[in-house]
């Protein structure tokens, strides 16, 4: 027996078992189409999980390089899961590039378009999620509503009724509440507590296996933000992160020296100009994120360690935005920066839990919020905005824009030199979400792991090198 099992890998319980390498996707019924997930299974327990990167990636065609004005249509075509979002993003960035006062904001019409797409995107996700959960009814209804809203024939009251029925579905909350919790392995806790891998949502995160640079670029680029700009961000009270005690961390000034990068990239948009040259950001100030050795925003005190799986902000990687971040209580929503949303009294939808159920609730509540916003916009039906942007053939400049996509904040930066696109950087939320797959699946049973990955709503079109 010993001879047979001598070289086999050991499970955490000490048993030697043969592990299996399994591929889920890119056409798995319970995962988004195109998402390729490789897993190493110890029986039916996930040891390692990784999303395939760059499968749907592509290089910029010459036609776009030579004619940056075609960037909106190109990005819309390259991201079929959120074409309107990417088109608006590129238009904003081009307007910021060409305008003398580059601070492009969304019009009401554009905001309505964005919210309509948010609804269809969430319905599309719900259809896949319903399949993963084994609820054919949820899937069928989500598909029906998706098609109706795609064809501009959506019925808001029926959608609200559908959402209400999902919230009351028997057993669903119990099933999802333990799926998809973000786990961390705290090997090197600065408080001296030694934690084995355990299911504490919000107790810091272990990114020791992520190269620091890749991690920084995964969702949002930090390097172009001046430190002092963080002081300009008013109105973002991060002390609202439930369960997270910032009182002794000096957040109010956003000094940025504490390594709390998850704040600095989310709300800087209002004060950044498109043509502003950004100094190279001091990575050292965020070096705490690379391995998350600085657990300033981790919860080392015994009390916090023993917290239930409620929201403890900061436990997700800083680049995580969108419904996944909001499902862990992080009030991170770029729409709060937009005047058109501020005028509508926009508030961020957040829940506590940081699990699959809270992510489902956030998306359902966001759909209802979007419906109310669209209803309030009234006759402004969100027609397609066709802004013609002139790109001068001489000179150079930068364009930058951010937008709240259905999956999180997308940032587009480019440099145009003599009428041609010289450099472009697109930071997408799915890259960051793909980075946390390991943490939400490790040592989970296979079904829970797949549910957790499905709950992240990763767009395979957004994952690229």
């Amino acid at each position: 027996m010993i001879a047979m099992t001598k070289d086999l890998p050991r499970s955490p319980d000490g048993l030697p078992m043969e592990w299996s390498d399994v591929q889920f996707g890119p056409f798995h019924p319970g995962l988004p189409g195109g998402l390729s997930l490789s897993m190493k299974l110890d029986g039916d327990t996930v040891v390692k999980a990784e999303a395939g990167q760059g499968l749907l990636g592509h290089n910029l065609p010459a036609s776009v390089l030579n004619n940056p004005a075609s960037l909106p249509e190109y990005l819309a075509a390259a991201h079929p899961m959120a074409p309107v979002t990417y088109r608006l993003l590129a238009q904003k960035a081009l307007v910021n590039f060409s305008s003398k006062t580059p601070n492009s904001t969304l019009t009401l019409s554009e905001a309505v378009l964005l919210e309509k797409e948010r609804i269809t995107s969430h319905l599309n996700w719900l259809a896949v999620f319903g399949t993963a959960l084994g609820s054919q009814w949820m899937r069928d209804q989500a598909v029906k509503h998706y098609h109706r809203f795609q064809e501009e024939a959506g019925d808001a009251s029926r959608l609200s009724e559908f959402i209400g029925r999902i919230k009351k579905m028997p057993y669903l909350k119990l099933k999802l509440s333990t799926a998809g919790k973000h786990r961390v392995e705290m090997e090197d806790h600065n408080q001296g507590h030694e934690h084995k891998a355990h299911d504490h949502s919000g107790h810091g995160h272990n990114h020791g296996d992520h190269a620091g640079d890749e991690h920084h670029h995964a969702g949002h680029s930090h390097e172009e933000h001046k430190v002092h700009e963080h002081h300009e961000h008013g109105g973002h009270d991060h002390s609202k992160h439930s369960g997270h005690d910032h009182s002794d961390q000096g957040h109010s000034g956003h000094g940025g020296n504490e390594g709390h990068g998850h704040e600095d990239h989310s709300h800087q948009h209002g004060s950044h100009s498109g043509h502003e040259e950004h100094d190279e950001h001091h990575h050292h100030e965020h070096s705490g994120h690379a391995g998350h050795e600085s657990h300033d925003h981790c919860h080392g005190s015994g009390d916090e360690k023993d917290q239930d799986a409620g929201t403890v902000s900061g436990q997700l990687p800083d680049e995580t935005t969108g419904p996944v971040a909001r499902a862990s209580g992080i009030e991170n929503d770029h729409r709060l920066e937009e005047p058109v949303y501020q005028q509508a009294g926009w508030t961020t939808v957040t829940t506590a839990g940081n699990n699959a159920w809270s992510r489902l609730m956030v998306r359902l509540n966001e759909m209802e919020q979007s419906l109310r916003f669209i209803a309030k916009a009234g006759n402004d039906s969100g027609g397609v905005s066709l802004q013609k942007i002139d790109i001068p053939s001489t000179g150079m400049g930068n364009g930058i824009a951010h937008i709240e996509s259905p999956r999180g904040i997308v940032t587009l930066k480019f440099h145009i030199h003599e009428g041609k696109l010289a450099h472009m950087q697109l930071n997408t939320p799915s890259t960051a979400l793909a980075g946390i797959i390991q943490h939400v699946t490790e040592q989970h049973e296979l079904a829970d792991a797949l549910t957790a990955v499905a709950s992240l709503d990763i767009s395979p079109w957004e994952i690229h090198h």
């Binding site: 039916d44 399949t131 993963a132 084994g134 054919q136 009814w137 057993y171 119990l174 099933k175 079904a447």
Partner: protein, 300 residues
């Protein structure tokens, strides 16, 4: 009615019942009633190429579907459809139901192993976990019905319900048996072995053609058979006014099958740890209580 005519009508009703179950299954998946759908699926699978996976276990690969359908046919043979309409009136009929249906999950485990694929293997393991979960409540609930009838003959169990059906006499037992038999049929929310969204079909993921057809057809027959068992044990069997006895059996069986598929459509899949937990922590004590309650009532 002559015995031959009775047998002919019962067989016809049974086959029709299986077809109606197929229509209901399609409704539970798609939300639409399509009467031609099952026939199309049957012809599609019948004509489909049979693909064998690499390094499959030949013995299990060939025998698992046969075992699956064989067990179901054996179960049908002992169920009484009418007062005098039973193929084999077995003296240990109630016990035989439980014993035979264990092999449903055994055949799923066999095919999970045979295919040499991870999806199917995990599905097979889940089938085993499911068997461990439901086996105690189902046999204990059966025991209570046997206690009341003081006999294991299924015809006697039906006759014992003359005054009051077992669904009212032992409601706890009925609920336990109903849920456990739903788990035997591995319909949603208990479709762990064949989870489409998680295992892309599980034990059936790598089956095609006639093998898959046998399993699909077998499950429909199983649903109808299990529904008939519920009717025999708890819903008074063939008892009812005006209509011939076998007609009542089939009507009630269709109702039970419809209820199975209704639950299918609106419940998410149960987690296997919850399944085990609920059955062992709550199901077994409730089944013991049911036996105790039936015993007390019988003695009074």
């Amino acid at each position: 009615m002559t015995p031959f005519l009775t047998v002919f009508i019962i067989t016809l009703l049974f086959l029709s019942g299986v077809y109606v179950a197929a229509v209901m299954e399609r409704w539970s998946v798609t939300g639409t009633v399509n009467w031609a759908g099952p026939m199309r699926s049957f012809l599609l699978l019948f004509a489909q190429e049979e693909i064998k996976t690499r390094k499959h276990d030949k013995v299990f690969f060939e025998t698992a579907p046969v075992l699956f359908i064989g067990v179901i046919l054996l179960t049908i043979s002992i169920l009484p459809f009418g007062r005098d309409s039973v193929i084999i009136d077995l003296g240990t009929g109630a016990l035989f139901i439980n014993a035979a249906l264990v092999y449903i999950m055994v055949s799923l485990l066999m095919v999970g192993w045979a295919v040499n694929g991870v999806y199917a293997m995990v599905g097979g393991w889940r089938a085993l976990a499911q068997l461990i979960a439901y086996s105690m409540p189902v046999v204990m609930a059966l025991t209570a019905t046997v206690m009341r009838a003081e006999s294991m003959f299924l015809t006697d169990i039906v006759e014992s319900q003359q005054g009051l059906w077992n669904i009212l006499y032992q409601p706890v037992g009925f609920i336990l048996f109903y849920i456990s038999t739903l788990a035997i049929t591995f319909l949603p929310p208990f479709n762990l072995p064949v989870a489409k969204g998680e295992l892309a079909g599980g034990v059936w993921a790598d089956l095609t053609g006639a093998r898959k057809l046998l399993f699909r057809l077998g499950r429909l027959t199983l649903v109808f058979t299990i529904s008939a068992a519920v009717v025999v044990l708890y819903l008074g069997g063939w008892m009812g006014p005006w209509l011939p006895d076998f007609a009542w059996t089939f009507l009630k069986t269709l109702l039970v099958a419809a209820s199975f598929f209704a639950i299918c459509r609106f419940m998410p899949r149960i987690r296997h740890d919850h399944l085990l937990e609920y059955n062992w922590k709550y199901g077994v004590p409730l089944a013991l209580y049911n036996i105790f309650q039936v015993g007390v009532v019988l003695l009074l």
